[in-house]
């Protein structure tokens, strides 16, 4: 039977669970950072990203409902995170839509889930399932450590490109600027909560498994954007008949 890891060893294992699966290294992220994408590609990204991050406060709300009142630090973090997503200043999804409109798409297109890829819809479904069904420390590991904590490393490479190469204004690209710093803190607080509340070997193992799954999901979501919009496979001229 596995032994309980010390907090430093568990932290290192959590960080290792992301390594090799970082979304910053997915093809779409690389092309963005290298200035190889167009505004149309950014528009398609926004139309997908909305359906992943748009419900983030909903995901956190489900985690909150599974968090015991003794875990005050976790409840405070979840509430603060939800509040920042929705109410503290401009709603974060409105910042995303502001960027999308600057790329030439519309609020209606962004909000229409039919414009998202199947992989994006899968990522959203995974987030809902984990937040509803898992222990609050495990769900925090999956969504905050596995997904949200990666944001600064992605956007710190993408934001300067948007301003310097593509000529977006700071206001148009505020969604990225805001998350570079806020998700540093959310990510760190997520780590602290997971380290504090994953108190059995089984919980630690499940946290590690779902951080890995989360990182894989975000990588796949980002790669699918490239495969769908930047370098789609050629259409099959004579598709084989469907199997009965």
């Amino acid at each position: 039977m596995a032994e309980l890891l010390s907090k430093p060893a568990f932290r290192e294992a959590l960080e290792d669970a992301i390594k090799g699966r970082e979304a910053k290294n997915a093809s779409f992220s690389q092309a963005w950072a290298n200035g190889e994408l167009s505004r149309e590609h950014f528009a398609r990204w926004a139309e997908n990203h909305y359906h992943y991050v748009g419900p983030f406060a909903d995901y956190l709300g489900y985690i909150y409902s599974n968090t015991p009142d003794t875990a005050t630090d976790a409840k405070d973090f979840l509430l603060q995170n939800m509040y920042e997503e929705e109410l503290s200043d401009v709603r974060h999804t409105d910042l995303l839509i502001r960027f999308a409109e600057a790329c030439g798409t519309t609020r209606e297109r962004v909000m229409d889930v039919d414009n998202a890829t199947a992989v994006t819809r899968g990522l959203q479904g995974w987030c809902y399932a984990i937040s509803m069904r898992e222990h609050f420390a495990v769900a925090t590991a999956a969504l905050v450590v596995g997904l949200e904590s990666q944001v600064p490393s992605i956007y710190r490479r993408q934001y300067p490109v948007l301003i310097e190469k593509y000529g977006f204004t700071e206001e148009e690209a505020e969604f990225f600027d805001l998350h570079i710093t806020s998700d540093e803190i959310h990510g760190e607080r997520g780590y602290q909560i997971v380290l504090e509340h994953a108190t059995t070997p089984e919980l630690q193992a499940r946290c590690l498994q779902l951080v890995r799954h989360g990182a894989e999901a975000r990588f796949s979501y980002t790669k699918a954007l490239y495969d769908t919009y930047v370098s789609p496979e050629p259409a099959v001229a004579n598709p084989a008949p469907a199997l009965a």
Binding site: Q80, L87, S88, T181, E184
Partner: protein, 120 residues
Amino acid sequence: MPTIRFSTSDREVEFADGDEVNLLRVAIRNDCGIPFKCASGNCGTDRVRVEAGADHCSTPRRRERERLGELFDQGYRLACQTYVNGDVTVAWDPEQIGLDAGSKVYDKLRQVWLAKDDGG
């Protein structure tokens, strides 16, 4: 190795040469005691006075400059908005709260509540 000195809590944290680290993240991870609330540069709870090493702090962005106002000219930074790439010393008032706990945040909430009232 570069060192961040948290003089109010008498703590020091080293980080790797060549790294650029978020000041509040380092403080949270190492339990250095900087007060904070939001993580978006809105509340100002995490303001710190840079006692040494201001040149090793990132260039402030618009959000931080606007939030700090004249405090910025007095050497203050928001820890959540500040990245550090060399030796720095910071201090703060352990009892400090948000810069305007009564205005911006509650105005937004009030708008939401009033909109609901209007709707029935």
